[in-house]
Amino acid sequence: MSYIVADQLGKSFGNGAAAVHAVSDLNFRIAPGEFVAIMGESGAGKSTLLGILGAMSAPTTGRLHVDGIDVYALNPDRLADFRREYLGFVFQSFHLVPYLSVIENVMLPLAVSRQGNPEKRRRAQDALAQVGLDGKADRLPGEISGGEKERVAVARAIVNAPPVLLADEPTGNLDSGNSREIMRMFQRLNASGMTVIMVTHSAECSGYAGRVMQLSDGRLKTDRRIAAATLRRAS
């Protein structure tokens, strides 16, 4: 069963002869619960593809279906609701709101929900506990380390319990120890049923994924599944 279906996805910037084709003719299917690493060199179209998968950047050609929903046929409000309900984002540079505390950053996706504040706080505390940061809930982002910021970003991405987690170079700003910690966290989330799609150019990080899609010049060059025996294991 396919959960995410990319059908002839393409994205161009500019018009006519000056047009730059960031990604072209992408066709793939991702089943629920897969852990996919998207790899490629700089300019290969990895982040553009992630923007399309994240319902943040409409493709110029093709269609994207998630859970049977034609994502870019949704109106802007429903598209925002889709992002909130289906997707969690982890960005390379964390993108935490500097004037909100750790727990408030985690609660951000819940700000527009109808849940009461106690319920929002409970869910945020659960998410922080999952990433091992429940003792630093009231600190500001400026008061914690880079690795901790990344974990706050992960907690924020999973607080809504979305079916899909998207990560853009999640270890790009981390040392090897913190990178391994984040990858193991992703494996645990994936093991709990969450579909994880991660853009990376780190071969080590891609070793944690069960499937690696290689992009080159905006096209899908290879798409291979990793044998379970060769996967790096969460400790």
């Binding site: 982040s47 994240g54 943040m56 802007p76 993108h95 004037y99 408030e104 504040n117 924020r156 809504n160």
Partner: protein, 385 residues
């Protein structure tokens, strides 16, 4: 975690920007409140002074018309040699509903007499009331008592009389008590006597030819007073001297137009301050807005956050602006040295209007930046960093 909390936290974090917007709006609102308070108080004072500026209601006997103008004003039909009003009837003026608005009642007896072999118009007046009814009179000498006469400038010149000299009026010897300096009105041609002397000279004891009334009337309906006086003096014709009323209203209207114009300019500038600052704020917050959009905020949620911030600052600006404007007006009135100190009243409706005005202005000026923020593409916003 609510949108309101996000707005408040952002305001607390960007205190400098918030203070700048607050200051811009406070200055705008304070200027408007100050101008309005000052103009209202000044207009009230001007109106009060205008009320002292002579008669504005004329009472004449009901009779067949004879064309006569008085004081350069077209008064319609006046006849002084056919019928008179009884002096005792004037007491009824104290019974009209708006009697508190009557500043002075000036009965006049008019008659033509032979003065030093010349025929001229004489007027018997109540000189106490004349001080209010004709404040523009400048008398060289003093007001007359019985058997004395006060000459208009032209009458004195024509008769060749000076203060202290005697003259014969219908065979009765009177002394010139003084001369009125040139007024440019018909008063220059007249000789003025006390009411009692004139009534004796013209054998009109207890009768009067016409009555001038000064109504204290900034906002009171002068036409209502005319109707009220006509009701208690059914035998008289009561007229409002429209020119005076109109000039008063025009003076006040000019003041108000001026204040509206200045206020509009200041508010426009205040709005620009908010607009420019909020635009800068939105640009600075591209990352945040990208994050909000990425985690599922709708465009309307982004607008709510921006509007909430502007609304909170604007409401505060309304409160502070009213206080500052009121204090400025009170200080300006005190400094004007015209006895206005402490006359700037606390007006709850103006305070409420100031807050509403500040909020409406703040939100209106924020509309474009808020829309701009809501339309930021989250992918572009985050990748541009």
């Amino acid at each position: 975690m609510t949108l309101k909390l996000i707005s408040i936290r952002n305001l607390m974090r960007r205190k400098g920007k918030a203070a700048f917007i607050l200051a811009g709006l406070v200055v705008g609102v304070a200027t408007v409140v100050g101008i309005f308070t000052f103009v209202e108080a000044t207009a009230h004072d001007i109106a009060h002074k205008l009320e002292q500026y002579g008669a504005n209601i004329l009472i004449v006997p009901k009779t067949e018309n004879l064309s006569l103008s008085y004081g350069g004003l077209s008064l319609g039909g006046v006849s002084f040699d056919l019928e008179e009003i009884r002096e005792s009837e004037l007491a009824r003026l104290a019974t009209i509903p708006n009697h508190r608005n009557i500043a002075a009642v000036g009965p006049i007896v008019l008659g033509v007499a032979s003065v030093e072999s010349r025929r001229m118009l004489l007027a018997g007046v109540d000189f106490k009331a004349a001080g209010i009814l004709k404040p523009w009179w400048r008398v060289d000498g003093r007001f007359p008592q019985d058997d004395e006469v006060l000459l208009g400038a032209e009458a004195a010149r024509a008769l060749g009389l000076e203060t202290g000299q005697g003259l014969s009026v219908n065979g009765r010897n009177l002394v010139v008590s003084g001369r009125i300096e040139v007024t440019g009105s018909q008063d220059d041609q007249l000789a003025f006597l006390t009411l009692a002397t004139a009534q004796q000279l013209f054998a009109k004891s207890g009768k009067i030819s016409m009555v001038e009334v000064a109504a204290l009337c900034k906002d009171c309906p002068i036409e209502d007073m005319v109707r009220q006086i006509a009701a208690v003096l059914p035998g008289a014709k009561v007229m409002a001297i429209q020119q005076v009323v109109k000039s008063r209203m025009e003076a006040l209207a000019q003041f108000q137009k001026f204040s509206y114009g200045i206020s509009a300019v200041i508010l426009f500038i205040g709005g620009l301050v908010v607009l420019v600052t909020m635009m800068g704020s939105v640009r600075e917050r591209t990352e945040e807005i990208g994050i909000f959009r990425a985690v599922g905020f709708r465009r309307s949620h982004i607008m709510q956050v921006v509007f909430l911030e502007a609304g909170i600052i604007s409401a505060l600006a309304g409160v502070f602006g009213y206080g500052l404007g009121w204090a400025s007006a009170a200080a300006a009135l005190a400094l004007s040295g015209d006895g206005h100190a402490g006359t700037a009243p606390f007006a709850p409706e103006l305070a409420l209007a100031a807050v509403v005005l500040a909020v409406v202005l703040g939100l209106a000026a924020t509309a474009y930046p808020a829309q701009l923020a809501s339309r930021l593409d989250p992918n572009e916003a985050l990748r541009a960093l």
